[in-house]
Subunit: 190 residues, 2 copies
C-alpha cells in the first residue's frame, strides 16, 4: 500500500491529535529505519497504522480477541493494551495488509515482547520518542535511539514498567518478557 | 521441630551475620503472625530456616534444581534466586520438615508468587523489614506491615522490582506474578 493511501485509510479512525501523533511516529520510524538498515517503507506503513484500532468500541475489541488466536489473557489486563493486537488483525481484515512483520510491530507496539524484531523495536521506540512526547526521561531515550536501538528500547521498557508501578497498575507479561530479554541482550547474554 | 533445635540445625550453615539476620526475621515473623492470626510456631520455623541453603555451593544448588521438580528456568536467572527453592527441598531432605506451608514460604521468600499464602507473605515481608534492614523505603513498608499485610507486600514487591531495574537486572517471572497479583488485590480485583 502506498503511504498516501495508508494515511487516508487511517485518518477517519482517529482523533485529529491522535492522527498527528501517528504521522510523527511515522516520521520518527522512517529516520530510525534509515539508521538501522530496516525498510523505511515498512516502517512508515506500520507506524501510520499502529494506533488504527485505538478508538474501536471495547466490545468490538473484546470480540476480536475472543474470536481470534490472540492471547485471551489480554482480557484480564487494562483495555489500553487491546488496540495493538486488535489493530494487527484489523489492518488485514479491512485493508488486506498481510505482511507479518508489519502486523507484529503493530501487535506489540505497546508492550514489546521477547526477541523483538528490528521493525518491532523501531515502532515501539518511535511511539515512545516521537517529537510530541514530553515526559520525564524521554530526552535521554531520544538521545540513545540514535546510538543503540536495543539500549533505547530497554530504557523505554524500564521507564514504562516504572511508570505503571508508580500508578499501582498491573504489567502485562509481554512487557516484562521484553524487559528481561532486552536486559539479557545488554548484559551480553542470550 | 522445637525452635531451639531448629536454631542449632541452622547455625552451622550460615555466617554469623546471616544467622543473626535469620533470628531477626524469626522475631519479626512471630510478631506478624500474632497480628494476622497465623501460627507463630510455623512462622518461626520457616523464618529460622529461610536462608538455610544460602551458602551451598552453586553446583550443589544447580544439582538440586536439575534433579527435582523445581522450575528449570531458575537456572537462567541470577543464582541469588536459587537458595529459596533449594532450601525448601533441603529442610525436608536433611531435617525431615515435610510441612508444605513452611516449604513454600521458604521457596518463595525471595520472589513472592501469585496467590501468596499468609505464611508466604509473613516470611517474604519479615525478610524485607527485619530491624537490621536499612535501605530507602524500608520504614514506609515497616509501618504498613502493622496495618495491611497485602499492601506492605505490594510495596516490598514494587521496591524490589524497581531496585532490580535500576541495577539493569532481570526479574524472575514469579516476582512479576506476585506484583500483578498483589496489585489486583489492592485494586479490588481477583
Amino acid at each position: 500500500m502506498k503511504i498516501d493511501m495508508a494515511i487516508e485509510k487511517v485518518r477517519p479512525h482517529l482523533t485529529e491529535s491522535r492522527f498527528q501523533h501517528s504521522l510523527r511516529v511515522a516520521e520518527t520510524a522512517v529516520k530510525l529505519a534509515g539508521l538501522y538498515n530496516v525498510s523505511p517503507a515498512k516502517a512508515e506503513i506500520a507506524a501510520v497504522f499502529h494506533d488504527y484500532a485505538k478508538y474501536r468500541p471495547l466490545e468490538e475489541m473484546k470480540h476480536w480477541i475472543v474470536k481470534s488466536t490472540l492471547p485471551k489473557d489480554l482480557l484480564l489486563y487494562h483495555h489500553e493494551l487491546w488496540h495493538g493486537p486488535v489493530g494487527a488483525l484489523l489492518i488485514q481484515a479491512e485493508h488486506g495488509i498481510a505482511d507479518r512483520e508489519i502486523q507484529e510491530a503493530i501487535q506489540y507496539h505497546t508492550t514489546g515482547r521477547a526477541n523483538m524484531s528490528m521493525l518491532d523495536k523501531i515502532i515501539y521506540l518511535s511511539d515512545y520518542i516521537e517529537p510530541g512526547r514530553n515526559f520525564p526521561g524521554v530526552d535521554e531515550v531520544r538521545e540513545m535511539a540514535g546510538k543503540d536501538l536495543t539500549k533505547a528500547c530497554w530504557m523505554a521498557s524500564r521507564n514504562t514498567i516504572d511508570h505503571l508501578m508508580r500508578k499501582q497498575g498491573t504489567i502485562y507479561p509481554d512487557s516484562f518478557y521484553a524487559y528481561n530479554d532486552l536486559t539479557n541482550k545488554l548484559n551480553g547474554g542470550t
